[in-house]
Amino acid sequence: MEPESLKELLEQHHKSSFGWAMACCQRNPAEAEDLLQVVYLKVLEGKARFEGTATFRTWLFAVIRKTASDQRRKNLARAVLTLKAAEDWRRSGITEYPEESAYRSEILSRFRRALAHLSRRQREVLELVFYHDLNIQEAADVMGISLGSARTHYERGKKRLRQLIEESEVYESELGRKNNPATVP
């Protein structure tokens, strides 16, 4: 494929690519941007070749996912070397940024926290299906797993997400009741 046509295709899918990169980087915009830069270079320099066996978007998402996985591994190795692993591990569970509370609604924030508590595969399949409107087969192709496995992750992910959000609702309401005892009937 010509570099110009590749560039056009990349530009066409830039929005969804960034969304998927955000999902792969636990919603960290700076990391997502870096990841996407690496992916675009890979594609344009021919290190990742589109063979046409899947749709361009599915292939691009798979490249983003693979690159994110490689970078995560590199970062982990670096973190271990610099003895930052413990801190990163602590932070990996709940991804919360200082500016978050300023511009995100309460529900969205809760939703993001719940997403962060899902397993990586559950989160990925839900993102691909609900965020990027892929079907489960396409999601399985992106993730490099079988359809059956993707379906299992999808069902379990939905169930767990619901459970997590409900739990946080209960927790929040109990916390509110403690803070405002007058509102308790």
């Binding site: 830069q37 969205l108 993102e127 609900f130």
Partner: protein, 170 residues
């Protein structure tokens, strides 16, 4: 949030998430330019690392070749002359004990490789064994040694024999 929320709710939540993400979305062109700039920088770094590694390897090869070629010059190709030189230096204390020990040392012998050192030390041992003398050997020497170790030849003058005869001393 409702207890009986369904897929529609999840979709709605993800839609909100997408809206949030779009706030951070960088421009495609700017990102591509930044990526290429970063790549240029990393390429330069990678090339300089490769160049430094190649230079270090070259230096290593040159040093190895130099060491390899100079070694046979220091130690002689045949073992015998070098070992003889070693014998000379090492056995000198036996023949001339008044000489200072510093002069006896020879730097080239030290630098020799293991087999050469072994052969030179062997040669020293052989030489010292062949020239070994008992400390009491001098006590066994007498003035009549020549007569005792020598047989008179037929027709030899009596006078020559007589001059060594025990009567001479009487």
């Amino acid at each position: 949030m409702n207890q009986n929320w369904d897929e529609k709710t999840i979709r709605q939540l993800f839609l909100e998430l997408r809206r949030e993400d779009q706030r951070h979305e960088p421009q495609f062109g700017a990102m591509l330019t930044a990526a290429r700039d970063t790549n240029k920088g990393s390429n330069t770094l990678a090339w300089s690392i490769k160049f430094a590694t190649a230079a270090a390897l070259c230096v290593l090869v040159v040093v190895t070749i130099r060491l390899w070629t100079t070694k046979p010059l220091e130690e002689s190709p045949k073992l015998a002359p070098s070992s003889l030189a070693a014998v000379e230096t090492k056995t000198e204390p036996v023949t001339n004990p008044t000489q200072s020990p510093k002069k006896q040392r020879h730097p080239t012998i030290r630098r020799q490789s293991r087999p050469s050192q072994f052969s030179s030390s062997l040669a020293i041992d052989i030489k010292s064994l062949s020239s070994w003398q008992s400390p009491t050997a001098a006590l066994l020497q007498t003035p009549q040694d020549e007569i005792l170790n020598k047989l008179p030849r037929l027709g030899e003058s009596l006078r020559t024999i007589k001059q060594f005869s025990p009567d001479q001393f009487n």
